[in-house]
Amino acid sequence: MKLLVSCLIVLAAVPAWAHHSFAAEFDVTKPVKLEGTVRKMEWINPHSWIHIDVKNPDGTVTNWMIEGGSPNSLLRRGFNKHSLEPGTQIVVEGYQAKDGASRANGRDLTFPDGRKLFIGSNPDEKAPEK
C-alpha cells in the first residue's frame, strides 16, 4: 500500500509557500516565546535552522532548534554566514514541534530590543546591527 499511495501526489497541489506541512510538524496549541543565545545557524536547504541556548527557570540550559526560511531568499536579501554570529541574543516566537522535542518554527525573530532579525537587510540597505 505504501508504494501505491506514494504514487498519488498531485503536484499541482504543492502549496505556494510551504515546502512541507506546518501542521504536520508543529503544534498550533503549543505557542512558544524563547529568549536565547545563538549557538549556530545552519545555512541548509530546504530550510535554515538556528540553534539557540535558552536558560530555563531552574538554571539549566536547553538547546532549541528553530526552523527558518530558505537560505536562497536570505542570501538574496544580503545575509551571509556572518549575519547571525554565535553569542547573539535573539527572541523567537513560534510553535513547538508536535513530538514535544525542543524544536520550533521561527515565525517571528527579533533582537531583544524588538528589531526584526531579517528585515531591512537587502544588499542596498544596511544590515541590522548586532
Binding site: 506546518f22 530546504p46 526560511g69 513530538d99 528585515i119
Partner: protein
C-alpha cells in the same frame, strides 16, 4: 521607505513603462536581425530568467470574458497582489512571517503582463472540465492515499521528499519564491536549470526521436527543435507519479520559447491529454531577465522537516493510543 514596497514600486514603474504598449498576449513579431543570437546562430535564450507571476492560472470568475486588463488595471492588480499581507496564522498552514525570510511576493521579479489569466485557450481562461474517467482516477488516487499520508517518507509528496517540485514541469510554472531559472544552449542541446528545486532538464535539439514509450521519466522526455526564432519543445513519456492538474502519464506538452525583446522570453505551452481533458489547453508566461546567479538548492541536505513530520505523526498516534 520600506524597501519591499520600494521594490514593488520600481516594478510597477517597470510595468507601466515596459508593458503596456504591446500586450504580452500579442507581442510584435521579432525579426531575425533584432533577436539576439547565440554562437551557433540560433536565437539566444541563454541567461537567468524569472517566471514569477502574480497572474492566476485561471481567470477569476468575476472577470468573465475579459482577457486583458488595461495598463492601469494591471498596475493596480499587481500592486494589490504584491502587497497582500500574509495569511493570518496560526490556523493557516503558514510557517513564518514570510516577509522576514524574503518569501513574500513583493520580492518577486515578474514580467509585465496584461493578461487576466495565464490560460490563453480556452478563451474563458479556465482549465477545460475533466473527463469522467479522469475524475474517477483522481478520486481513486485520493481515496487510496487517505489515512496513509504519514505512514512513511515514501508516502509524503515528491516535493517534501525533495525529489522534484510541481513547478518544474514541464510545463514550467511560477513558484512562490525563488522562481528563477537558467537557460544554457550548446550544440545539440538546450539545458534548463530551475532553482526550485535544483533540477536540470536536458533537451536534445538534434532531431532525435522520443524514447520508447516503455521508458518513463519524472520530467518526461523532452525533444526540441527551432521554428524560426522559437524553440519548440515536445515532451511525452511522463510517469503516473507526476500528474499536472490531474493528468495521466500520457500527458503531451508542447512548449514554445521566444525571446521577444532583450529582457523578455515569452513562454507558451499547450497540454493535451484525452484521458483527462475533453480538449487541449494553453497558457503563457512572460519570463523576465534577472541578475544571476542561481543559488544552489540542495533540497535534501538538511531536510529535517520530513523527519519531524513523521515524528509528529508517531507522537499523535501514541496520544490516540493512550486515549483509547
Amino acid at each position: 521607505m520600506d524597501w519591499r514596497f520600494r521594490n514593488s514600486l520600481i516594478l510597477l514603474a517597470g510595468l507601466a513603462s515596459v508593458a503596456f504598449g504591446a500586450p504580452p498576449g500579442a507581442p510584435p513579431a521579432t525579426t531575425a536581425e533584432r533577436s539576439p543570437r547565440a554562437a551557433d546562430g540560433k536565437p539566444d535564450l541563454e541567461g537567468y530568467w524569472s517566471n514569477g507571476s502574480v497572474t492566476p492560472l485561471e481567470r477569476p470568475k468575476e472577470l468573465g470574458n475579459k482577457a486583458f486588463f488595461t495598463p492601469e488595471e494591471a498596475g493596480q492588480y499587481a500592486k494589490q497582489e504584491l502587497s497582500k499581507p500574509e495569511p493570518p496564522g496560526p490556523d493557516t498552514d503558514t510557517h513564518y512571517n514570510l516577509a522576514q525570510y524574503g518569501l513574500d511576493k513583493s520580492q518577486m521579479n515578474i514580467a509585465a503582463n496584461l493578461r487576466t489569466s495565464l490560460i490563453t485557450d480556452p478563451p474563458d481562461g479556465q482549465i477545460p472540465p475533466m473527463t469522467p474517467e479522469a475524475v474517477q482516477r483522481n478520486s481513486d488516487r485520493a481515496a487510496a492515499r487517505k489515512g496513509h499520508e504519514f505512514d512513511g517518507p515514501e508516502n509524503r509528496g515528491l516535493a517534501e521528499q525533495c525529489i522534484l517540485w510541481g513547478n518544474e514541469g514541464p510545463p514550467m510554472m511560477p513558484v512562490g519564491y525563488n522562481s528563477n531559472l537558467q537557460i544554457v544552449q550548446g550544440p545539440g542541446y538546450v539545458a534548463i536549470l530551475q532553482e526550485m528545486i535544483h533540477d536540470v532538464r536536458m533537451i536534445p535539439t538534434d532531431h532525435s526521436p522520443h524514447l520508447p514509450s516503455t521508458i518513463r521519466q519524472w520530467f518526461g522526455d523532452s525533444r526540441g527543435h527551432w521554428e524560426g526564432d522559437t524553440l519548440v519543445v515536445d515532451t511525452t513519456n511522463f510517469t503516473e507519479r507526476t500528474p499536472f492538474h490531474g493528468s495521466s502519464e500520457n500527458l503531451h506538452v508542447v512548449e514554445r520559447f521566444r525571446r521577444v525583446n532583450a529582457d523578455t522570453i515569452l513562454y507558451q505551452f499547450t497540454v493535451d491529454d484525452p484521458a483527462t481533458w475533453a480538449r487541449p489547453w494553453s497558457a503563457e508566461i512572460p519570463m523576465t531577465k534577472i541578475k544571476g546567479p542561481i543559488f544552489e538548492y540542495a533540497c535534501h541536505e538538511g531536510n529535517y522537516g520530513i523527519v519531524n513530520s513523521l515524528s509528529g505523526a508517531r507522537a499523535e498516534e501514541r496520544k490516540q493510543q493512550v486515549a483509547k
